[in-house]
C-alpha cells in the first residue's frame, strides 16, 4: 500500500472540508482496502466516515430512510426492512459473507467497484483502471462480463446484489455535494453506462458523500424473489441475478418489478417486461413472455453466450417463486 494520511471526520461537513484532490472516503473498507493493497487506488489521504454519516434506519411519512453507514448485516436483519422490503434483505444475504456484511456499509455497497478480472490485474489493460489502455475483456475472457449496455471501451458489470433490489424498489439516493447542497438522485440514474469513459462508475460528483438512501412504501412485500446464480452456492459474485416482485390482486398483476445483476455496468431494470406484465394474469405463460421480452435486447459476448438461456430461465423461475412464495 502507498503511505497515506488518515483522519476521522466528526460530521459530513468536516468530512467534505477534509477532502482534497487525492483523498478518498472510507466506510467499511471491504472494497477500498483490498484495492489499495493492489495499488489500484492510491489515495494520499483517507477520510474515515464511520462517525460522520448516519447509521440509523428511520420511518418517514411515506417510506424508510437508511443512513449510508448502516451495515449490510444490520440492514438485512432489521425488522422494519423484513416487514416492508423483504426483497432487500434477501438480496443482501445472498452477497459476500457474514464477516463482510458486518463491515460493509450501505453507501460503500453502492460504490463498490467491478470484479472484472482485467480491472483487478494491474498487468492487464483496463480502461476503467487506466483510461486509454484498452478493454482486455472485450475480446478476452468475458465469461463474467456484461450482455447489455456495454461499449467497446468497457464490458464490466456492477457486482452488487443489494443494488439490484434497490433499483427494483425505486430507491432514491441522498448525496451531500462539496458545495454544501443536498441532492436526491433516482437509483436508476445513480449508476451509469460505460460509454467512452468507463473510469466513472456512477454520477456521484467528485468529493460528494452518500448520506442516506430512501425507499418509498410499496406493496412488494408479499410476492417477491431474489435469485442468484453463481459458480458456487455461497460467497461468490453473481453470474446472473434476478430481483422480481409482483403486486397482485387475486391472480391479476397490478404492478411488476424486474431487475438483474451480472448483466450490465449498472443494476439493470427490465422495463419492457414489467410493462408487459402489468394488467396481465400471473401465469407461467406470461412469465415466459416477460423473460423473452427481456432477453430480446441482450447481445452476449464470446464467452458469456450461456447467460441468455440462464437469464431467461432465471426470470421465469423468479416470477414463479414470487407466486408460490418460496
Amino acid at each position: 500500500m502507498k503511505p497515506f494520511e488518515y483522519s476521522k471526520a466528526e460530521n459530513t461537513t468536516s468530512a467534505i472540508k477534509l477532502a482534497g484532490n487525492s483523498s478518498m472516503y472510507i466506510s467499511g473498507g471491504t472494497n477500498l482496502i483490498d484495492l489499495m493493497k493492489k495499488h489500484i487506488h492510491e489515495p494520499d489521504k483517507l477520510i474515515d466516515l464511520t462517525d460522520a454519516v448516519s447509521s440509523e434506519i428511520t420511518v418517514q411519512e411515506n417510506g424508510i430512510r437508511i443512513g449510508a453507514m448502516v451495515r449490510n448485516s444490520t440492514l438485512a436483519e432489521d425488522s422494519l426492512i423484513l416487514d416492508k422490503f423483504p426483497l432487500l434483505s434477501r438480496a443482501i444475504l445472498k452477497g459476500a459473507s457474514p464477516q463482510i456484511r458486518n463491515m460493509a456499509s450501505t453507501g460503500g455497497n453502492l460504490l463498490q467497484r467491478t470484479r472484472c478480472p482485467y480491472f483487478y490485474d494491474t498487468a492487464l489493460p483496463c480502461n476503467k483502471r487506466i483510461p486509454g489502455s484498452g478493454c482486455g475483456a472485450l475480446e478476452g475472457n468475458n465469461r463474467m462480463s456484461a450482455v447489455i449496455g456495454y461499449s467497446n471501451s468497457c464490458v464490466a458489470v456492477h457486482p452488487s446484489d443489494m443494488c439490484v433490489a434497490l433499483v427494483a424498489l425505486d430507491t432514491k439516493v441522498e448525496i451531500l455535494k462539496p458545495d454544501g447542497n443536498t441532492e436526491m438522485i433516482n437509483f436508476e440514474d445513480f449508476h451509469r453506462l460505460p460509454g467512452d469513459n468507463p473510469q466513472k462508475d456512477n454520477n456521484l460528483p467528485d468529493g460528494a458523500i452518500i448520506t442516506a438512501i430512501e425507499i418509498q412504501n410499496n406493496s412488494f412485500n408479499k410476492n417477491y424473489d431474489y435469485l442468484k446464480l453463481r459458480e458456487r452456492e455461497s460467497y461468490a459474485f453473481a453470474l446472473i441475478s434476478v430481483a422480481a416482485a409482483l403486486e397482485l390482486s387475486g391472480n391479476l398483476i397490478r404492478e411488476a418489478r424486474l431487475a438483474s445483476g451480472g448483466v450490465a455496468h449498472k443494476p439493470w431494470r427490465w422495463k419492457d417486461a414489467e410493462n408487459f406484465l402489468k394488467g396481465e394474469n400471473a401465469t407461467e405463460e406470461n412469465f415466459k413472455k416477460a423473460a423473452e421480452l427481456a432477453i430480446e435486447k441482450i447481445a452476449p459476448l464470446e464467452d458469456n453466450k450461456f447467460k441468455t438461456e440462464m437469464l431467461k430461465g432465471a426470470i421465469q423461475q423468479s416470477f414463479m417463486n414470487c407466486v408460490t412464495n418460496r
Binding site: P3, G29, Q99, N102, G134, Y235
Partner: protein, 198 residues
C-alpha cells in the same frame, strides 16, 4: 479489434520490452530494495499515529503506520500469531476476529479505525485455563486437519451461534461460508457447531 491490438503491440515492442524486463530481473534484489527504501524515505511521507487499542482485555499503546491492518498489527507488532493470514484480501476468513463482539475480517480492517473498540482473537477465547466450548467441540468432532483455517473457523463459529444462525445444517453452512477450509473439514466443523448450538 484484434488487428488493432496487434498493431499496437508489434514484435519490436515485444522484444524491446521483454529485454528491458529481463535486464531489470538481473539487478540484485538488495539493490532494488535499497532504491525503494530511498524512494520511501525521501519522496513519500509515511504517517505514524499513536494509538491505544484493546485486545483480549489488554490495552496496548503503540505508534503505528496508518497502513497497518489489524491482522498485521496482531501478528507482526503484538505477536499474537493465532489469527492467520490466508489471502489478505477478504476471500478466505482465516483472519476472522471479533470486534465489539461481531465477527469481522482483520485483513480488511485498518488499525487506525479501531481505537475504542474491543478486539477478541482466538487467544482470548479460553477462560481461566479452560478451552471455550467451541474449541472443545472442534477437537471432539474433527473440525480440522492441518489447522490453518481453524482459528478463523472457531471465531466465526462462536459468532454464528451467538447470532442464532444454527437453525439447520443448511443455515449453518450458509452462515459459515465466509470461512474456507482447504482440507475440507466442513462436515466436522458443522458437527462441532451443532454440538454447541442451543
Amino acid at each position: 479489434m484484434k488487428t488493432e491490438a496487434s498493431n499496437t503491440y508489434s514484435r519490436r515492442f515485444f522484444i524491446k520490452s521483454s529485454s528491458a524486463f529481463t535486464t531489470l530481473a538481473f539487478i540484485p534484489n538488495s539493490v532494488k530494495s535499497f532504491f525503494y527504501q530511498v524512494k520511501e524515505k525521501f519522496f513519500v511521507k509515511k504517517q505514524k499515529i499513536p494509538l491505544s487499542v484493546s485486545i483480549n482485555n489488554k490495552e496496548y499503546r503503540l505508534d503505528v503506520d496508518t497502513r497497518t491492518t489489524l491482522l498485521d498489527l496482531l501478528r507482526e507488532n503484538i505477536g499474537l500469531t493465532g489469527t492467520k493470514k490466508g489471502c489478505d484480501h477478504g476471500q478466505c476468513g482465516a483472519c476472522t476476529v471479533h470486534i465489539d463482539g461481531e465477527r469481522r475480517l482483520s485483513c480488511l480492517t485498518l488499525t487506525a479505525m479501531i481505537p475504542g473498540k474491543e478486539i477478541t482473537t482466538i487467544e482470548g477465547l479460553a477462560k481461566d485455563g479452560k478451552l471455550h466450548p467451541m474449541q472443545e467441540a472442534f477437537i471432539e468432532n474433527d473440525g480440522f486437519q492441518c489447522g490453518y483455517c481453524t482459528p478463523g473457523q472457531i471465531m466465526s463459529a462462536v459468532a454464528c451461534v451467538q447470532e442464532g444462525h444454527t437453525g439447520s445444517t443448511e443455515e449453518i453452512k450458509e452462515f459459515m461460508s465466509g470461512n474456507l477450509c482447504r482440507c475440507a473439514a466442513y462436515n466436522g466443523i458443522t458437527r462441532a457447531i451443532q454440538k454447541v448450538a442451543p
